[in-house]
């Protein structure tokens, strides 16, 4: 597609339920990132995938959070047993490899998650 696509755009869920957020990166972009943006806060790094390398999961806030990337393209971020503090906008981005990571990221519109 023309840009990074995320779905759903909005998700309201009850506390304790599991949610899945989807990201479809730009075709040909082998690096994919997930960030979280809470109200009034900056972007919090969650995880990134690069090609077939092991993902860098160092930003995942707890073991309730997980992500996978199938076939080097679409990625799913899963939050289990959601809590109210998980409410935020979840942003996905993708980029080309470039040389040693010198490429900029292209962001999707985000998924606004509200846990009630």
């Amino acid at each position: 597609g023309a840009g990074v696509s995320q779905s759903p755009s909005n998700k309201v869920t009850e506390k304790g339920k599991d949610v899945e957020l989807r990201c479809d990166p730009i075709s040909g972009h082998t690096a994919l990132y997930w960030y979280r943006q809470s109200l009034g806060q900056g972007l919090e790094f969650l995880i990134y995938f690069q090609g077939n390398s092991a993902p860098d999961k160092s930003g995942l806030p707890s073991d309730r959070f997980s992500a996978e990337r199938t076939g080097g393209s679409v990625s799913t971020l899963t939050i289990q047993r959601t809590q109210q503090e998980d409410s935020a906008v979840y942003l996905c981005a993708s980029s080309l490899v470039g040389q040693g990571g010198n490429t900029e990221a292209f962001f999707g519109q985000g998924t606004r998650l509200t846990v009630v």
Binding site: Y33, G42, L43, F45, D56, A105, F107
Partner: protein, 115 residues
């Protein structure tokens, strides 16, 4: 570990005046540095980046930024602000030596340009 500081939550300037949005960073190696902008109800957009070479980098919409290694800064500047520049600006850093793609963002600075 990488970190980015944007010391100002908000910057106010009058239209036509120069603007500066500050950013300082910390990495163990050499940095790749980025600026992104988030307009209301729109996604983040890339503005400019420093990779190597000339310390003054020019980007979209007339913005530029100067890499200062001794001060570990990468301030965003524009000679003449427009009302349409009002947005949320993020500085980001990636550690070149780490060789990966982990990019850390600052907390953001909201720019208000008054007519």
């Amino acid at each position: 570990a990488q970190s980015v500081a944007q010391p100002e939550d908000q910057v106010n300037v009058a239209e036509g005046n120069p603007l500066t949005v500050k950013c300082t960073y910390s990495v163990s190696g050499n940095p790749y540095l980025f600026w992104y902008v988030q307009y209301p109800n729109r996604g983040l957009q890339f503005l400019l980046k420093y990779i190597t070479g000339d310390n003054l980098v020019k980007g979209s919409y007339g913005f530029e930024a100067e890499f200062n290694k001794s001060q570990t800064s990468f301030h965003l500047k524009k000679p003449s602000a427009l009302v349409s520049d009002s947005a949320l600006y993020f500085c980001a850093v990636r550690d070149k030596r780490a060789g990966g793609f982990k990019t850390i963002f600052g907390a953001g600075t909201r720019l208000f340009v008054k007519a």
